[in-house]
Symmetry: C2
Subunit: 149 residues, 2 copies
DNA sequence: GAAAAGTCTAGTTAATAAGTAGACTTTATA
DNA sequence: TATAAAGTCTACTTATTAACTAGACTTTTC
């Protein structure tokens, strides 16, 4: 049930970008290098990850001097599920309960397969959280903890 | 968020063994080969998996003629979480929210790390389901579906 | 036109997953 | 007591993926 480094770094970067936009320093445009340093991510690896996220439509970018990356949509419109799916693929533990990558497993009867029934609950629980938590929600949570402490 | 083949096969085998015990054919003792055929699992691979499960205390075995594997505890005492942890390791997506394999991540402040807060919810949701679903629950679910259909 | 950014493609290296192979041990029973 | 039927144990293999790294290229600003 692991999240890959790609997924982890990508989420961190997206949260970073959402925070940058909230603070609105230069309209939320941030360079790869800045994010890499702040989040302690190998810059060249992060480069690839952000590019993938861009090609998936979650980020926009500006080339040349003063350029960088910025969110393609407001933080409240980008869910963690969206990001994880792009970087790590389907959320489901097994393909026979996946929405985005369904594939039948070998069992004689899908409908009454015990494993499938249990894993369906798991996939739904994960998707429910990840698809209903936006970058904005994450920032709000962080603020709450910081104020509470 | 994937379950490995080891994990999948192990779960299928344990559910199979629980069913065998319910039907009580020979006191729930089943041979590797039988399970492998019924569940379409490579026998030699299953052998290793069942051995791991045995060493973890979830299964008992009987050697020699008429031998085989059987559950070490009644089906209502063995949770899916238990099985998955033995075969696939911690349930948590990232180690900094793991109960069984906690490790701090690199972020400056654990408590206010956005990624961690979100992943904590995910890990709790997964653990909640897997730790509270027993082999007996799985069999009950299957029965319900079969009768409903 | 030079420097600062992102873009793109192809390596590399190490770990893990998913199995295979085969010799060994225990036990029932003929 | 020999033999066949089971599980036990260790090591090997093979393919895939994860996690980077390298470097040449393009676009934009000043």
């Amino acid at each position: 049930m692991r999240l890959s480094k790609r997924g982890e770094y990508g989420l961190r970067a997206m949260i970073d970008l959402a925070a940058a936009r909230n603070g609105n320093p230069h309209n939320g445009v941030v360079q790869i290098k800045e994010i890499a340093e702040r989040e302690r991510i190998p810059a060249k690896f992060l480069e690839q990850i952000l590019l993938t996220l861009k090609n998936a439509g979650l980020l926009h970018s500006k080339m040349g001097v003063g350029g960088g990356y910025y969110l393609a949509q407001p933080p409240q419109a980008i869910s963690l599920g969206n990001i994880v799916r792009v970087l790590d693929g389907p959320l489901a533990p097994v393909n026979c309960v996946s929405q985005m990558a369904y594939e039948p497993c070998g069992c004689p009867d899908q409908e009454s397969c015990g494993l499938r029934l249990a894993m369906l609950d798991v996939r739904n629980a994960i998707a429910d959280i990840l698809d209903n938590t936006t970058l904005a929600d994450v920032l709000t949570k962080v603020e709450k903890v910081k104020k509470g402490a």
